[in-house]
Symmetry: C2
Amino acid sequence: MVGKLSVPAPRQAKAPAVIRSTAEFARHVGLARTTVSRVLNGQPGLKQKTIDRVQRALAETGFTPNAHALHLKGKRTSMIGICMEDFATPPAVRKLATLQRVLRSRGFSSLIEVFAPGTGREVVRHFQSLRVEAVVFIGHFLPEEIEARIAELAAHGTPHVVIDHYGLKGANTVTLDRAAGMEAVMNHLLDLGHRTFGSLGITKGRPSRIERMAGIQAALRARGLDPERCLLSVDHLHERNVDFDYGRNLAAGFLAQRELPTAFLGHNDEIAVGALHGFQAAGLKVARDVSLTGFNHQDICRMVSPTLTTVDQNIEETVAVAADLLLAQLDQPPRARPVVRTIKPQLVIGGTTGAARPSSRGSGF
Amino acid sequence: MVGKLSVPAPRQAKAPAVIRSTAEFARHVGLARTTVSRVLNGQPGLKQKTIDRVQRALAETGFTPNAHALHLKGKRTSMIGICMEDFATPPAVRKLATLQRVLRSRGFSSLIEVFAPGTGREVVRHFQSLRVEAVVFIGHFLPEEIEARIAELAAHGTPHVVIDHYGLKGANTVTLDRAAGMEAVMNHLLDLGHRTFGSLGITKGRPSRIERMAGIQAALRARGLDPERCLLSVDHLHERNVDFDYGRNLAAGFLAQRELPTAFLGHNDEIAVGALHGFQAAGLKVARDVSLTGFNHQDICRMVSPTLTTVDQNIEETVAVAADLLLAQLDQPPRARPVVRTIKPQLVIGGTTGAARPSSRGSGF
DNA sequence: CTGAAAGCGCTTACAG
DNA sequence: CTGAAAGCGCTTACAG
C-alpha cells in the first residue's frame, strides 16, 4: 500500500553548527553570556547597538533558549495538561479546539492525552512531572478514577477544571445544564401538543442520564402529566453499538410496539439521525407523523432532511468559563471548596418537530 | 448564562507539605539523595528493603521527579510537536487522534498547536525552545511558510513529517494518493455507463486539486474519452462558504444548466451530501437519476440515504507510516533528501452510485 | 549505603 | 559591558 516518490532535495545552505546554549550563542556573537541573557530578557542599561547585534544573530541562527532550563530557574512552564475522554465525540473535539485556542491566546501551550480507564494515574503523573500549571478534563470518566486524580492534583497544588462531567466529588466543574436542555425540548414538544414521548437512548450507562430525566420529568409534571405514563422506552431491547445504528434500531423497535409515541427524544444527534432514517425507511414522514429531537447541535443536524431539532451546548461560553475558572486559580491559594458552574443550553428548532397528530397506530392516550 | 451550584467539599486529608525535589523527598524518606536517585533509575546494588521504602514513599507522596531537570541532564524530552491546520476537518482530527495514540504507545507525549497563517514561526520556535524531538504537520498550509519552518527545523536537526500536504520542497511527506482515489471513483462510474461528470468543488484553491484532476483525466483518457468534453463545472458560479451549503448550491447550479451530467464528483463528503440534498429537493432520485460521490469516508456517509459512495483515506495506515518515518529519524543522521510516501485510498461503494441512464433533460452526449 | 562534587542551560546579583 | 559565582533539580562517577 506504500509507494515512494522522489522529490527535489532541499537547498543545503552550508548550515553553521547548531547553537544549543546561550554560552555557545554568546561566543558566536562575541559577547558575554550575561549580556546576551540581558538582551533576551529585555533588561535595561544596554546600548542599542548591542541589542541589535544580538537580535540579528538570534534571527540568523534561530537559537531559542532552552525552555527546560528557564523553568528550572523558576519561570512558569505555561503548559496546561488536557485529558480527553476520547477524540471520537465531535462536541468534545470542538471543546478541545476552542480550549486550545483560548489557552494559546493567553500564552499557554496544550499537552494533550487521552484519559482512558486505567491510564489516568500515569497520565496525570506525567503531567505532574512536566510541572504543568493546571489540568483540564473534557468528557465523562470513571468517577473513582478521576476523583482520585483530582485529589492528587489538589495535594500538589495543581489547579484543575472538569468540563462536562457533573457530580464529581471535589471537582471544579463547568457543565451544561442538560436538565434545562431537556426541559426546553419538552416544552417545545408539549406546546406542539405532544403527550407521549419515546426515549431514544436516554438510558442507564449513558452519561448525564439523571440530569436529562430530571428535566424531562420536570416539564411533564409542570403540565400535570405523569412521567411514568408519558415516557416510553425500548432502549433495553437493542444493543448499543454505533449510535447511528442504535438509533435506527430503536426506531424499528418502537414501530414494532403496539403503541407509538408521537415524539421521540434522542440522547444525541447521531441517535436521532439514525432514528430519522429508521422512521423514514418505514414510510413515516417526520415531522408529520412523528416528531424527533437530538442533542448537541452537531453539523449533521443540518445535513439531514428535514433538519434536526436539537440543543446547542454553547461550547464557546463553556470553554471561556472553564478557562477563566482555571486561570483564576493559578496565582491564588487553593480554594476550600470546589466551584461548579452551569451553562445554559439553547434549543435549536429544525424541521423534525411539528404539531402532534393522533398516531395512525392509535397511541391510546 | 452562568449559575453556581454547591457541591460537597473534598475530604481534606491533612495534606503534608508538597514535595517538589529529590532533595526534599530524600529528607522525607531519610535517605541520601544519591540513593533515592538510584532507586528512581533502577540501578543495581541496592537492598530490597531500601527499594521498597522508597517506592512506598513515592506512592504516598505522589512525588514525581522534575522532568525539566531530567532533560537538562540529557534525558530525551519525549515530546513531539504537532501542528494542525485546524480542528474543524474530521479526517484531520482522526489523524491527530490516531497519531496521539501511536506516539503515546511509544512513550512520546503530544504538544499540539494550530499552525495558522502567520503564526508558524512562533509555533515552531516554541516547539524548538521546548526541545521537542520531532514535529508533525497535519493538513494543508501556505507552502512558503511551512517550507521555511521545515528548513529551520532541519537546520536544528529536528526531524519532521508532513501528513497530507503533497509537493512541499524539502518535506518528508506521507500523503494519500488522491489521483488513484479519483481514478477508482471514475472507473467505478465509467463501468456503470457514465460519460458526463459534474465537478462539485474540485476547483482552484482547493487542496490537492491537481492530483485529483490528474486521476480523473487519466481514467477518462484510458477509455478514449476527452476530459474537456466529459467534465463539467459550475464551481465558479457559487460562493464557497460552508461546504454543505456550497454542495447544495452547486447541485442547484447544475440543475439550472441546459445539460445535466449523469454523475457528480464531490470534492469531499460534506459537499457531496449538500448536493445530495439539492438533487433530492429538486425531485431527483439518487442514484436512479444521477450518481454522486464524496471523498474521505466520514461518518456522515452512512447517515444519509442513500449512503454515499466515497473514498476511504486509510488513516490508520497513513499515521502508522508517518510515525515510523518520524521515529526512524530520531537516532539517525539527517537524511540528504526528503522521503515521500503515498498511501493508497480505497473506494467505498454506497447507494448514491448506479447505472447511468440518459438524463431526462437530455445531456446531448 | 552516604556525602561531596561536577555539570546540564539558564538568570541574577555582584564586583570589576 | 565583562566575568566569576550561585543555584534551580537532577544524575553520575568518586571516595568513603
